[in-house]
Protein backbone atom coordinates (compact mmCIF):
# COMPACT_ATOMS: atom_id res chain seq x y z
CA UNK A 1 0.00 0.00 0.00
CA UNK A 2 1.13 3.57 -0.74
CA UNK A 3 -0.37 6.85 0.45
CA UNK A 4 0.05 10.60 0.45
CA UNK A 5 -1.41 13.51 2.42
CA UNK A 6 -0.79 17.13 1.41
CA UNK A 7 -1.75 20.64 2.47
CA UNK A 8 -1.35 23.46 -0.07
CA UNK A 9 -0.93 27.21 0.43
CA UNK A 10 -4.74 27.58 0.36
CA UNK A 11 -4.99 25.24 3.35
CA UNK A 12 -6.67 22.48 1.34
CA UNK A 13 -5.90 19.03 2.78
CA UNK A 14 -6.06 15.98 0.46
CA UNK A 15 -5.44 12.30 1.27
CA UNK A 16 -4.90 9.50 -1.27
CA UNK A 17 -4.16 5.79 -0.85
CA UNK A 18 -3.63 2.97 -3.39
CA UNK A 19 -2.93 -0.73 -2.91
CA UNK A 20 -2.62 -4.20 -4.37
CA UNK A 21 -4.02 -5.61 -1.10
CA UNK A 22 -2.42 -8.59 0.64
CA UNK A 23 -0.71 -11.67 -0.79
CA UNK A 24 -2.99 -14.72 -0.87
CA UNK A 25 -6.23 -12.78 -0.49
CA UNK A 26 -9.34 -14.37 -1.93
CA UNK A 27 -10.43 -13.02 -5.32
CA UNK A 28 -12.97 -10.25 -4.60
CA UNK A 29 -11.53 -9.36 -1.19
CA UNK A 30 -11.68 -5.61 -0.51
CA UNK A 31 -9.33 -4.01 2.03
CA UNK A 32 -9.32 -0.81 4.10
CA UNK A 33 -7.88 1.45 1.40
CA UNK A 34 -11.12 2.36 -0.43
CA UNK A 35 -13.19 2.57 2.80
CA UNK A 36 -13.41 6.20 3.94
CA UNK A 37 -12.60 6.51 7.63
CA UNK A 38 -10.65 3.26 7.62
CA UNK A 39 -7.69 3.51 5.20
CA UNK A 40 -8.12 7.10 4.01
CA UNK A 41 -9.84 10.33 5.05
CA UNK A 42 -9.64 14.13 4.72
CA UNK A 43 -11.51 16.96 6.48
CA UNK A 44 -9.95 20.43 6.48
CA UNK A 45 -11.33 21.13 9.97
CA UNK A 46 -9.42 18.21 11.53
CA UNK A 47 -6.85 16.73 9.14
CA UNK A 48 -6.02 14.12 6.49
CA UNK A 49 -4.97 10.49 7.08
CA UNK A 50 -3.61 7.61 4.98
CA UNK A 51 -3.20 4.15 6.57
CA UNK A 52 -1.33 0.94 5.70
CA UNK A 53 -0.86 -2.52 7.21
CA UNK A 54 -3.25 -5.40 7.88
CA UNK A 55 -6.42 -4.26 6.16
CA UNK A 56 -8.79 -6.53 8.10
CA UNK A 57 -7.49 -4.99 11.34
CA UNK A 58 -7.61 -1.38 10.06
CA UNK A 59 -11.18 -1.87 8.78
CA UNK A 60 -12.45 -3.36 12.03
CA UNK A 61 -10.83 -0.57 14.06
CA UNK A 62 -11.67 2.33 11.70
CA UNK A 63 -8.12 3.59 12.18
CA UNK A 64 -8.32 6.86 10.19
CA UNK A 65 -11.47 8.02 11.99
CA UNK A 66 -10.10 7.07 15.41
CA UNK A 67 -6.97 9.15 14.83
CA UNK A 68 -8.96 12.21 13.70
CA UNK A 69 -11.33 11.70 16.63
CA UNK A 70 -8.41 11.73 19.07
CA UNK A 71 -7.23 15.05 17.57
CA UNK A 72 -10.72 16.57 17.68
CA UNK A 73 -12.08 15.24 21.00
CA UNK A 74 -8.91 14.84 23.04
CA UNK A 75 -7.02 17.77 21.54
CA UNK A 76 -4.01 15.55 20.85
CA UNK A 77 -1.30 16.50 18.38
CA UNK A 78 -1.20 14.58 15.09
CA UNK A 79 1.82 12.63 16.33
CA UNK A 80 0.30 11.76 19.71
CA UNK A 81 -3.04 10.76 18.15
CA UNK A 82 -1.41 8.48 15.57
CA UNK A 83 0.81 6.80 18.17
CA UNK A 84 -2.11 6.30 20.57
CA UNK A 85 -4.48 4.83 17.99
CA UNK A 86 -1.96 2.55 16.23
CA UNK A 87 -1.06 1.16 19.66
CA UNK A 88 -4.70 0.79 20.79
CA UNK A 89 -5.66 -0.92 17.51
CA UNK A 90 -2.99 -3.59 18.04
CA UNK A 91 -3.92 -4.02 21.73
CA UNK A 92 -7.65 -4.26 20.94
CA UNK A 93 -7.63 -6.40 17.78
CA UNK A 94 -4.17 -7.92 17.54
CA UNK A 95 -3.22 -6.87 14.02
CA UNK A 96 -0.72 -4.14 13.12
CA UNK A 97 -0.61 -1.10 10.88
CA UNK A 98 0.63 2.44 10.39
CA UNK A 99 -0.65 5.89 9.50
CA UNK A 100 0.47 9.31 8.29
CA UNK A 101 -1.46 12.45 9.22
CA UNK A 102 -1.40 16.17 8.46
CA UNK A 103 -3.69 18.05 10.87
CA UNK A 104 -5.60 21.29 10.27
CA UNK A 105 -2.61 23.31 11.48
CA UNK A 106 -0.25 21.59 9.07
CA UNK A 107 1.45 19.53 11.79
CA UNK A 108 2.37 15.95 10.94
CA UNK A 109 1.98 12.54 12.58
CA UNK A 110 3.86 9.39 11.52
CA UNK A 111 3.34 6.18 13.47
CA UNK A 112 3.20 2.41 13.02
CA UNK A 113 2.88 -0.77 15.10
CA UNK A 114 4.48 -3.00 12.40
CA UNK A 115 8.25 -3.62 12.43
CA UNK A 116 8.80 -1.00 9.72
CA UNK A 117 7.01 1.64 7.60
CA UNK A 118 8.59 3.60 4.73
CA UNK A 119 7.75 7.31 5.02
CA UNK A 120 8.94 10.67 3.70
CA UNK A 121 7.97 14.35 3.63
CA UNK A 122 8.90 17.71 2.16
CA UNK A 123 7.94 20.90 3.93
CA UNK A 124 10.81 23.32 3.58
CA UNK A 125 12.07 22.12 0.19
CA UNK A 126 14.16 19.47 1.93
CA UNK A 127 13.34 15.74 1.75
CA UNK A 128 13.13 13.86 5.07
CA UNK A 129 12.57 10.08 5.07
CA UNK A 130 12.92 6.92 7.14
CA UNK A 131 11.71 3.36 7.76
CA UNK A 132 12.70 2.25 11.29
CA UNK A 133 11.28 3.08 14.70
CA UNK A 134 13.01 5.95 16.52
CA UNK A 135 14.81 7.00 13.34
Amino acid sequence: TVGAVAMDANGLIVAGTSTGGITGKWPGRIGDTPLLGCGNYADNTVGGVSCTGQGETIMRYNLAQRILGAIQQQGLTAQAASEQECKRMTERIGGTGGAIIIDHKGDMGISWSTPRMAWGYVRDGIIHYGINHNE
Binding site: T1, V2, G3, A4, V5, A6, M7, D8, A9, N10, L12, I13, V14, A15, G16, T17, S18, T19, G20, G21, T23, G24, K25, W26, P27, G28, G31, T33, P34, L35, L36, G39, A42, D43, N44, G48, T52, G53, G55, T57, R92, I93, G95, I100, I101, G106, M108, I110, P115, R116, M117, A118, W119, G120, Y121, V122, R123, G125, Y129, I131
Partner: protein, 183 residues
Protein backbone atom coordinates in the same frame (compact mmCIF):
# COMPACT_ATOMS: atom_id res chain seq x y z
CA UNK B 1 -0.76 31.62 4.42
CA UNK B 2 -0.43 27.92 5.36
CA UNK B 3 2.98 26.41 4.65
CA UNK B 4 2.64 23.69 1.97
CA UNK B 5 3.62 20.17 3.06
CA UNK B 6 3.48 16.69 1.49
CA UNK B 7 3.79 13.53 3.62
CA UNK B 8 3.82 10.03 2.10
CA UNK B 9 4.20 6.36 3.08
CA UNK B 10 5.32 3.35 1.06
CA UNK B 11 3.72 0.60 3.11
CA UNK B 12 4.14 -0.97 6.54
CA UNK B 13 5.07 -4.48 7.62
CA UNK B 14 8.09 -6.68 8.10
CA UNK B 15 10.10 -4.98 5.30
CA UNK B 16 13.34 -6.91 4.76
CA UNK B 17 16.70 -5.09 4.59
CA UNK B 18 17.21 -5.87 0.90
CA UNK B 19 14.07 -3.89 0.02
CA UNK B 20 14.93 -0.74 2.00
CA UNK B 21 17.10 0.99 -0.63
CA UNK B 22 14.42 0.53 -3.31
CA UNK B 23 11.81 1.96 -0.98
CA UNK B 24 13.97 5.00 -0.18
CA UNK B 25 14.65 5.71 -3.87
CA UNK B 26 10.91 5.43 -4.57
CA UNK B 27 9.97 7.67 -1.64
CA UNK B 28 12.37 10.40 -2.81
CA UNK B 29 11.17 10.17 -6.43
CA UNK B 30 7.53 10.43 -5.30
CA UNK B 31 8.26 13.48 -3.12
CA UNK B 32 10.06 15.23 -5.98
CA UNK B 33 7.11 14.51 -8.30
CA UNK B 34 4.69 15.92 -5.71
CA UNK B 35 6.63 18.99 -4.58
CA UNK B 36 6.47 20.51 -8.08
CA UNK B 37 2.70 20.83 -7.56
CA UNK B 38 2.96 22.40 -4.13
CA UNK B 39 5.83 24.83 -4.19
CA UNK B 40 4.38 28.29 -5.00
CA UNK B 41 6.49 29.19 -8.06
CA UNK B 42 7.41 32.86 -7.62
CA UNK B 43 4.29 33.30 -5.50
CA UNK B 44 2.13 32.96 -8.62
CA UNK B 45 0.26 29.83 -7.67
CA UNK B 46 -0.75 28.46 -4.31
CA UNK B 47 -0.06 24.97 -5.59
CA UNK B 48 -2.54 22.11 -5.55
CA UNK B 49 -2.70 19.48 -2.80
CA UNK B 50 -4.90 17.41 -5.10
CA UNK B 51 -2.32 17.34 -7.90
CA UNK B 52 0.50 16.75 -5.40
CA UNK B 53 -1.17 13.74 -3.78
CA UNK B 54 -2.08 12.23 -7.14
CA UNK B 55 1.48 12.76 -8.44
CA UNK B 56 3.07 11.15 -5.38
CA UNK B 57 0.80 8.09 -5.47
CA UNK B 58 1.16 7.69 -9.25
CA UNK B 59 4.93 7.73 -8.87
CA UNK B 60 4.76 4.86 -6.35
CA UNK B 61 2.10 2.92 -8.33
CA UNK B 62 4.47 2.58 -11.27
CA UNK B 63 7.38 1.54 -9.03
CA UNK B 64 7.77 -2.23 -8.43
CA UNK B 65 9.19 -1.50 -4.97
CA UNK B 66 5.67 -0.76 -3.70
CA UNK B 67 2.52 -2.87 -3.29
CA UNK B 68 0.30 -0.79 -5.58
CA UNK B 69 -0.14 -0.69 -9.36
CA UNK B 70 2.92 -2.40 -10.85
CA UNK B 71 4.24 -4.80 -8.18
CA UNK B 72 0.88 -5.33 -6.46
CA UNK B 73 0.35 -8.35 -4.24
CA UNK B 74 -1.41 -11.32 -5.84
CA UNK B 75 -4.65 -13.02 -4.82
CA UNK B 76 -4.89 -16.82 -4.53
CA UNK B 77 -5.64 -17.00 -8.25
CA UNK B 78 -2.34 -15.24 -9.01
CA UNK B 79 -4.09 -12.07 -10.16
CA UNK B 80 -3.81 -8.36 -9.26
CA UNK B 81 -6.95 -6.67 -7.92
CA UNK B 82 -6.39 -3.09 -6.75
CA UNK B 83 -8.15 -0.60 -4.46
CA UNK B 84 -7.70 3.19 -4.17
CA UNK B 85 -9.36 6.23 -2.64
CA UNK B 86 -8.87 9.99 -2.78
CA UNK B 87 -10.56 12.60 -0.57
CA UNK B 88 -10.32 16.41 -0.36
CA UNK B 89 -10.98 18.18 2.90
CA UNK B 90 -12.83 21.36 1.87
CA UNK B 91 -16.13 20.00 0.47
CA UNK B 92 -15.17 16.47 1.62
CA UNK B 93 -15.66 15.04 -1.86
CA UNK B 94 -14.19 11.58 -2.43
CA UNK B 95 -13.64 8.85 -5.01
CA UNK B 96 -13.18 5.18 -3.96
CA UNK B 97 -12.57 2.31 -6.39
CA UNK B 98 -12.05 -1.40 -5.82
CA UNK B 99 -11.24 -4.65 -7.64
CA UNK B 100 -9.55 -2.79 -10.52
CA UNK B 101 -7.35 -4.88 -12.83
CA UNK B 102 -4.79 -4.15 -15.55
CA UNK B 103 -4.61 -0.35 -15.16
CA UNK B 104 -1.47 1.33 -13.84
CA UNK B 105 -2.99 4.19 -11.81
CA UNK B 106 -6.03 3.38 -9.62
CA UNK B 107 -5.56 6.71 -7.80
CA UNK B 108 -6.34 8.56 -11.05
CA UNK B 109 -9.49 6.46 -11.51
CA UNK B 110 -10.51 7.44 -7.96
CA UNK B 111 -9.94 11.10 -8.83
CA UNK B 112 -12.06 10.80 -12.01
CA UNK B 113 -14.89 9.31 -9.94
CA UNK B 114 -14.59 12.13 -7.38
CA UNK B 115 -14.69 14.74 -10.17
CA UNK B 116 -17.90 13.28 -11.62
CA UNK B 117 -19.72 14.03 -8.32
CA UNK B 118 -22.24 11.23 -9.05
CA UNK B 119 -21.12 8.44 -6.70
CA UNK B 120 -18.41 8.01 -4.08
CA UNK B 121 -17.63 4.27 -4.36
CA UNK B 122 -17.49 2.05 -7.45
CA UNK B 123 -16.28 -1.54 -7.80
CA UNK B 124 -15.50 -4.34 -10.22
CA UNK B 125 -16.62 -4.09 -13.85
CA UNK B 126 -18.15 -0.63 -13.36
CA UNK B 127 -14.87 0.72 -11.96
CA UNK B 128 -13.01 -0.92 -14.84
CA UNK B 129 -15.30 0.75 -17.40
CA UNK B 130 -14.92 4.12 -15.66
CA UNK B 131 -11.13 3.72 -15.82
CA UNK B 132 -11.08 2.99 -19.54
CA UNK B 133 -13.69 5.64 -20.41
CA UNK B 134 -11.76 8.37 -18.57
CA UNK B 135 -8.38 7.85 -20.18
CA UNK B 136 -6.70 4.99 -18.30
CA UNK B 137 -4.82 2.62 -20.60
CA UNK B 138 -5.88 -1.04 -20.49
CA UNK B 139 -2.69 -3.03 -19.97
CA UNK B 140 -2.23 -6.62 -21.22
CA UNK B 141 -3.50 -9.15 -18.66
CA UNK B 142 -0.79 -9.81 -16.08
CA UNK B 143 1.30 -6.76 -17.01
CA UNK B 144 1.28 -5.60 -13.36
CA UNK B 145 2.57 -8.94 -12.02
CA UNK B 146 6.22 -9.03 -10.90
CA UNK B 147 8.40 -12.06 -10.19
CA UNK B 148 8.73 -11.07 -6.53
CA UNK B 149 4.94 -10.94 -6.18
CA UNK B 150 4.74 -14.44 -7.71
CA UNK B 151 7.42 -15.62 -5.26
CA UNK B 152 5.49 -14.15 -2.32
CA UNK B 153 2.33 -15.98 -3.43
CA UNK B 154 4.23 -19.26 -3.82
CA UNK B 155 5.52 -18.90 -0.25
CA UNK B 156 2.04 -18.05 1.03
CA UNK B 157 0.44 -21.08 -0.65
CA UNK B 158 3.20 -23.40 0.64
CA UNK B 159 2.61 -22.12 4.20
CA UNK B 160 -1.12 -22.59 3.77
CA UNK B 161 -0.60 -26.14 2.46
CA UNK B 162 1.45 -26.87 5.60
CA UNK B 163 -1.38 -25.48 7.75
CA UNK B 164 0.82 -22.64 9.05
CA UNK B 165 -0.90 -19.53 10.44
CA UNK B 166 -0.49 -16.84 7.84
CA UNK B 167 -3.88 -15.26 7.46
CA UNK B 168 -3.95 -11.58 8.37
CA UNK B 169 -7.69 -11.64 8.77
CA UNK B 170 -7.63 -13.81 11.83
CA UNK B 171 -5.58 -12.88 14.86
CA UNK B 172 -4.75 -14.30 18.22
CA UNK B 173 -7.29 -11.93 19.76
CA UNK B 174 -9.96 -13.22 17.39
CA UNK B 175 -9.37 -16.78 18.53
CA UNK B 176 -9.75 -15.72 22.14
CA UNK B 177 -12.78 -13.57 21.46
CA UNK B 178 -14.89 -15.91 19.32
CA UNK B 179 -18.05 -16.55 21.31
CA UNK B 180 -18.61 -20.29 21.89
CA UNK B 181 -22.11 -19.91 20.40
CA UNK B 182 -20.37 -18.97 17.15
CA UNK B 183 -21.51 -15.31 17.15
Amino acid sequence: MPQPVILIHGGAGDISDDLVEGKFLGIKAALRAAWEHLEPANGKSSGSALDAVEAAVRSMEQNAAFNAGYGSSLNTAGCVEMDASLMEGREMRAGCVTLLTDVMHPITVARRLMEKRRHVFLGGQAAQELALSTGSEKLPAGALVTESAREALREYLEQEAQGLENNFASSRMDDVRTDQRGD
